[in-house]
Symmetry: C2
Subunit: 417 residues, 2 copies
């Protein structure tokens, strides 16, 4: 047992350490899943491509209009990695978030295949939000008037007993999923979870899985984690139109100048392209060609991702080492050990996450706002902190994590006092 | 007077000429306003840019995320040409049509500045469509459930007496305008028309002018036609939030790989960016930088457009020469003589346009479908044909126009018979 005197000593020394941290005047940032300059350097040769050889494999002049579905050879390259047949895959602009947003917009304004009315004509539209999850998924729903209902994450993905129960409400039209190396806890959905999602007894005939496979090839170890084929399993379960699969090269090539993908059933893709054809004549095919020329093929893509891993795996290792050395035996403190993706979730004792983020901010260390991992910014237990170690150089990650430790210690000492 | 016998002779010879045309087995296309390969060659050096020097003028790493409003130096370059202050100009993706579509979508789903509700909550939303006009404007409205009401074009732009009357209906929320070298008739709006648009007594507080300045720098003569400053005039008239200005480099640099712009009042831009910030982290800034590096400055842009003119002005000259030599004195046949832009409007006697397009199609010559210049594909007088001479090489334009003449002659002879 810790005596009250010990607690007083702990609090005093934690405060002293924190004042020392503040005195350093650090300005570090662990907020967003951004690639570092060193990672972007890997793909910078792209910025001289495609050069004067602007023709696609089929002779298409990539400089001109048209080609709504995107360059066939780029779709062919990414099809196996996203587990979508190339003919059901769309390659588009520089943002998969756009594709998700626009898919919700299309569904709001035009009935989906299998649906009987536009979502704006429903009394209420609900998406299920596994938590912790990705704040931008939640923000676009909030902006578009789509209500969010949280579902707890388990080590196998969303709690499917909860999902199976919630989807009996016909207002539930969708669920957000980051099936591999999930943002922010690094979870990969088990095959059983994917099978249950594909078959979950949704009351809404136009229920959709928004399958944001953002980290499909973003492994932090030599093992290439696989996730079950949601399109195939949904078709087997009699729900072929259920999944919309998304992906992008934002964290493969260049974060702001990549290519985003949407894949789905033939019916959904036809629906999506028909609506998108009223919006644009087609995506930037020169950027599609640029990607094909640079990545070349599946082996080229794998090699490229290995080079990313060499840069970022040591940063994740530092996060784990620092947390292990300081909190291995601290009750209520735990963290994810992702095998891929861009984030570590640090779980702290209930009621301390916001305090820790605030302490860090005041010491010049930006962390993702507490609550951002939950719909409406509300983490009811106030215990989830997302750490994003990829952007700062390694020495800064070390320094930032030392700062995180000081802030956690002070918050815990304050709580005990 | 033509005697019945003459008419019979005319019809017989017109038919013979048409059969000869068909026997040529031509496969030519005057349908779309696409730049030719020769024009795209002008900007092909872009496809090796920006190379390893990826930093913007302010030091921004263009490769990474962020920068929702677009690269400042690109906005600065185009601001004077679009008559929008750079700080109220957004540079975005590769399609201005996208920006127009998404602006309507945003207004459907979120109240505009000055508006009191979302357009989806209105009983009816109407846009005015000056005719002849651009089919893609109409198609996006039809898809989004926005009704179109035609307004006749005059040599000064839309008939403002009609507009002033129609906007008294609060359901009228917008008007499509291509103010300079209009698609398809080449009209440039007079200053008086712009002044009246800025001040038209719209009943809807969220009435908007969709100002598609697609051909801002696309002159076919040495004279740089100016159009009045719709943002300034609207502000003067007490309607600062009325115009949304659009433009793009699709017909300046590369049709599929250009940059699109949106400009408006500070309030509208803030509204648009706030909504767009839920949709994407930002546009492809490397393509913005690519444009700045290639076009450099206002003089660079002007030089580049002169080179376009050298390629396409002779094609427009051929269209005019052929039509003049054959139809100078034919009652009911007239055509526009644009000083810029991408189209010629050929007006034929009532009830013959669809027949002419059909005859051309059967002879292997694709023309824009009759009616495409009007909402719902309905040209009530069936007299408007849009000709787009930029894409085919010059000898093909000559051949195609010879074919047009044969088809028009046959349709006129059939009508007289």
């Amino acid at each position: 047992m810790t005596s009250p005197a010990d607690i007083g000593t702990d609090l005093a020394s934690a405060r002293a350490a924190y004042e020392e941290l503040k005195a350093q005047g650090m300005r570090l940032d662990l907020t967003r899943g951004k690639p570092s300059a060193e990672q972007l350097d890997l793909a910078t040769p792209m910025l001289s491509l495609p050069g004067a050889d602007y023709r696609a494999a089929d002779g298409t002049d990539t400089r001109n209009y048209a080609g709504l579905q995107g360059l066939p050879e780029l779709r062919g390259l990414f099809a196996p990695f996203l587990a979508v047949p190339a003919e059901q895959l769309v390659a588009f602009g520089n943002s998969s978030l756009e594709l998700m947003h626009d898919t919700v917009v299309h569904a709001l304004l035009s009935p989906l295949p299998g649906g009987d009315r536009r979502w704006v004509d429903e009394e209420r539209v609900v998406f299920l939000a596994p938590v912790p999850g990705y704040d931008r998924h939640f923000a676009l729903c909030e902006r578009l008037g789509v209500d969010l209902v949280p579902v707890p994450m388990t080590p196998d993905g969303p709690d499917m007993d909860v999902v199976d129960e919630l989807v009996r409400d016909p207002a539930v039209k969708g669920i957000w999923c980051v099936p591999k190396y999930s943002n922010p806890d690094g979870t990969t959905y088990s095959d059983e979870t994917v099978r249950r999602l594909a078959a979950t007894p949704a009351a809404a005939p136009d229920f959709r899985i928004f399958w944001d496979n953002a980290y499909a090839v973003h492994h932090l170890t030599e093992h290439e984690t696989e996730v079950a084929d949601v399109l195939a399993l949904s078709a087997e379960a009699g729900n072929p139109d259920r999944p919309f699969v998304f992906g992008s090269t934002s964290k493969i090539t260049l974060a702001g100048a990549g290519v985003a993908f949407l894949g789905s059933s033939a019916a959904n893709v036809a629906w999506w392209l028909a609506l998108t054809g009223k919006r644009t004549i087609g995506p930037d095919k020169t950027n599609h060609l640029r990607h094909v020329r640079f990545l070349r093929d599946a082996d080229g893509l794998r090699d490229h991702m290995r080079r990313h891993r060499e840069i970022i795996a040591p940063k994740f290792a530092v996060v784990d080492e620092v947390l292990t050395s300081d909190f291995a035996d601290t009750p209520g403190v735990s963290w994810s050990k992702p095998a891929g993706g861009y984030f570590v979730t640090l779980t702290v004792p209930d009621g301390t996450a916001a305090r820790i983020v605030r302490l860090a901010k005041d010491a010049g260390l930006a962390l993702t706002p507490a609550g951002a991992t939950h719909p409406y910014g509300d983490d009811p237990q106030d215990r989830t902190i997302r750490l994003a170690p990829t952007f700062p150089p390694l020495p800064e990650v070390e320094k930032a994590m030392a700062g995180v430790v000081v802030c956690v210690r002070l918050a815990l000492a304050e709580r005990a006092a």
